[in-house]
C-alpha cells in the first residue's frame, strides 16, 4: 500500500445513478476477461430469481435501448430483493423479480429489466477502465435503500433520511463544509442541474464560483498544474430526474435510460482526467454509483447496521447491494481487483487519509470503519509511470430513445424534488441562477406553457 497522502494530489469523484455490479461489470468474469473478479460465472442457474413458483434466469442484454420503466429501489423493494432466508438468515438475493412485479403491478416478462446484464461491448468504457485499473468487487451502497439517503451518506457521512420523496434536504454538515474547514481546494463540474441543489444549506455552494459547467472540465484539467488548482473535483452527470430543456440529454445511467450516454460521459471525463500527464501522475479518479437501482446482484451485503439520524429514526440491518466501483490512478494496478469491503463512506475515509492524515473524516465515518468498512486507500498498491491508456474510440450507439416531454408533470419524489429545488432557487436567487443555470429560465417558461396548453 502506498502513502496516499504523499502521492495523491488530485481526487476526482464521479458518481452515477442506479446500476448494480453484476449488471454493469458481471461480464468481466463471465467473458473470462478477468476471472478473479466476483462477477457472473457459470452455471448461470445459480442466479435464478424466484417468483410464483418459477425461476427467472438472468439474460444478456442484446442492445442498448430505453427500458420499459424505472426499476424499484426504495427500501421496501430492496428488502424484498435481498430476500432474507428465514432458514439460513442469509440474504439470498432472489427477490428482484418479486419486487419488480409488485412495482409494475403486472406479470413480469421472462426477460424483465432488473435481471438483464450488459456484455462488455455495450459498456465499452466501464469495461475498459475496469480492465486497466482497479475494480472493487465488494463495494456496497451504504444503505439498502434509494437515492437521497445513499447520496447523503456519500457526501455527508451520515443521513437523517431513509427514503426518497419530495423534499428539500437539510443536513448538519457536508463534504464541502469539511473541505472548507480543512482548507482543501475543491471544485464541482456539473453537466446540468446539480444534485446538491436538493440541499438548501448547500445552495451557497451551488450558486458559488466553485460550481462550474462541465464543459470547462477538459481545459481546466489540461491546463498547466498550478498552486491553486482544486484538490478534490466532484463531477456530476446530467440527471434523468432533473429538469431538462432542448438537447440537454441525461447521462447519469438512471433507468429507464439507455446506458450509452453515460458511457460517453465517462469517456469524456476520463479523457479530461488524463489530459495533463503531470496532473495525471498524482490523480485518483473514483467512479461509483449511488445505489444498485433495483438491478440484480448476486452478493449478499454484509450485516453492518445503521440507524438514521433524523426523526423518526430508521434502522437498517445491512449495507445495500453492490455497485460498480472503479479506481483509476497511476497507483492502482493494471486490471487489479480490490476485494475489501467498501461503501460510499470509504471515499470519505480516503479523502481524510489523503488530506488530513491521522485525523478521521468524522466520528460517524470512523464508526463505520470500526464496523468493517475499509478506506479506498487500500486499493492503492502500486505505481505506474507509463502513459495512461487511451479509451476506446469506437462509436457508442443507443438503439432507440423516446423523447421526453416537458409537458408531463413530474412523477415520483426525485423528479418533484428537483423541480421544487429549481423553482425555489429561481425565485430566491434569480441573478445567480441566471449566471449558473441560464437554461432553467427557459425550462421554467417552456414547461409552464406546455403544461397550460
Amino acid at each position: 500500500m502506498i502513502d496516499v497522502s504523499e502521492k495523491i494530489k488530485t481526487v476526482v469523484l464521479l458518481m452515477f445513478e442506479n446500476r448494480s455490479f453484476d449488471h454493469m461489470l458481471g461480464h468481466l468474469s463471465l467473458e473470462n476477461i478477468n476471472t478473479a473478479v466476483d462477477g457472473l460465472k457459470q452455471p448461470m442457474s445459480a442466479y435464478d430469481n424466484l417468483y410464483n413458483g418459477s425461476s427467472y434466469p438472468l439474460f444478456r442484454v442484446e442492445a442498448d435501448s430505453f427500458l420499459q420503466s424505472d426499476v424499484p429501489h426504495e427500501w421496501q423493494y430492496v428488502d424484498t430483493q435481498l430476500a432474507k432466508s428465514p432458514v439460513t438468515q442469509r440474504y439470498t438475493m432472489r427477490g428482484f423479480i418479486e419486487a419488480y412485479a409488485d412495482f409494475i403491478k403486472d406479470e413480469p416478462n421472462p426477460m424483465a429489466d432488473p435481471i438483464g446484464y450488459f456484455p462488455s461491448h455495450l459498456v465499452p468504457i466501464s469495461s475498459f477502465l475496469a480492465q486497466n485499473f482497479c475494480t472493487c468487487d465488494r463495494w456496497f451502497s451504504a444503505l439498502p435503500t434509494s437515492t437521497q439517503p445513499n447520496r447523503t451518506m456519500a457526501f455527508c457521512g451520515d443521513t437523517p433520511i431513509y427514503d426518497t420523496k419530495t423534499r428539500i434536504i437539510t443536513t448538519p454538515s457536508s463534504i464541502f463544509d469539511w473541505m472548507n474547514a480543512h482548507n482543501i481546494r475543491w471544485r464541482n463540474y456539473h453537466d446540468g442541474f446539480s444534485f446538491f441543489a436538493l440541499y438548501s444549506n448547500l445552495w451557497k455552494y451551488v450558486l458559488g464560483n466553485n460550481f462550474r459547467d462541465y464543459e470547462n472540465l477538459y481545459l481546466d484539467m489540461k491546463a498547466p498544474v498550478g498552486p491553486n488548482d482544486p484538490q478534490v473535483i466532484i463531477v456530476e452527470p446530467t440527471y434523468e430526474d432533473a429538469p431538462h430543456i432542448g438537447s440537454d440529454r441525461p447521462n447519469d445511467n438512471h433507468a429507464p435510460l439507455a446506458i450509452g450516454w453515460g458511457e460517453e460521459f465517462l469517456r469524456r471525463t476520463y479523457e479530461a482526467v488524463i489530459a495533463n500527464p503531470e496532473r495525471w501522475g498524482n490523480t485518483a479518479m473514483i467512479v461509483y454509483y449511488d445505489e444498485h437501482g433495483g438491478f440484480y446482484d448476486h452478493v449478499s451485503p454484509p450485516s453492518i447496521p445503521y440507524t438514521t439520524t433524523g426523526n423518526p429514526v430508521h434502522h437498517f440491518d445491512s449495507l445495500g447491494p453492490r455497485i460498480p466501483g472503479i479506481i483509476i490512478s497511476p497507483f492502482t494496478g493494471n486490471g487489479s481487483i480490490c476485494h475489501n469491503i467498501f461503501d460510499h463512506t470509504s471515499v470519505l475515509q480516503f479523502l481524510a487519509d489523503v488530506f488530513t492524515p491521522g485525523k478521521p473524516y468524522s466520528a460517524s465515518v470512523n464508526n463505520r470503519k470500526n464496523a468493517g468498512i475499509h478506506s479506498l486507500s487500500e486499493a492503492f498498491t502500486t505505481e505506474h509511470t507509463a502513459a495512461p491508456p487511451l479509451p476506446p474510440s469506437q462509436p457508442i450507439s443507443v438503439v432507440s430513445a423516446l423523447g421526453k416531454s416537458i409537458a408531463a408533470t413530474p412523477v415520483g419524489g426525485m423528479k418533484t424534488s428537483f423541480e421544487m429545488a429549481a423553482n425555489q432557487l429561481l425565485d430566491t436567487h434569480p441573478d445567480k441562477m441566471a449566471a449558473k443555470y441560464p437554461e432553467l429560465f427557459q425550462w421554467r417558461d417552456a414547461t409552464k406553457n406546455a403544461r397550460n396548453q
Binding site: P43, G53, S54, P57, S85, V87, R94
Partner: protein, 208 residues
Amino acid sequence: MIKKLKFRIGTWLLTFFFIFLYSCTPKINSFTVNKRTISANDTLQFNWDVTGHPTLLYHQRNITGPGTPDSAVVRYLEFTLVAQKNGKEAKKMIQVVTQPVNSTDSVVCATGLHGDTLIASCTKDSIRWGNNYRVVTVSSGSRRPLNVSHAGTTTLLDAAGTPSHAFEGTALNGAWRMSSLLTAAEKADMSTAAEKLSLIVTVKYETQ
C-alpha cells in the same frame, strides 16, 4: 362558507386541469394477454385500453442459454403496444414464451422452517401458464426426498429423482407445497440448509 366554496371551486379547477393534461398525452391504461406461455396452434387474446392511437408490434427472438428448459432455444414472442397522440408516444411490451407440446419445467419455492422440517409453498400463476399445461410426471429437483402436495393429492418423491405419475393430468398452475426433513448436516449447521426446494415437472400441452 365562502372559504369552503372557494376551496371547492379551486379543487374543481385543479381537477379539470389535470383531466385536461391527462387527455393531451398518450397513455396505456392497460395491456393484458390471457397467457404468457403457449404452444403450437395456440391463440393469444390481447386486451388494451389506451388514450391515443394504438398500434401492436410483433417481434420474435430466439434465445439459447443456461437456465432455459433443456438448454434449448427458447422462442420469445414480443408484443409491443404503442399509443400515439399529439406527436408523443407511450409503449409497453409483453413477452410470451413458446414451448413444445411436451416440455419440462420446474416448480421452485423458497423455504421456511417448521420444527425440523423445511417447508416450501408457492403458486404457479395462471397468467404466465394459462390452463393448458397438464402435468405428466413430477420428480424431486433438490436431490432429497420431498413430500409434495398439489391439486388435492400428496405423494412422496425419492431423492434419486424417480419420476412420479401421482399428479398426472392436473394443471401445472395452482398451489404446490413441498416439505423435507432437515438432514443431520443441516441441523448441525443451519447456514447449509436448503434455501429453496424444487420439482422437475414434465408437462403436456392440451388444447381445451
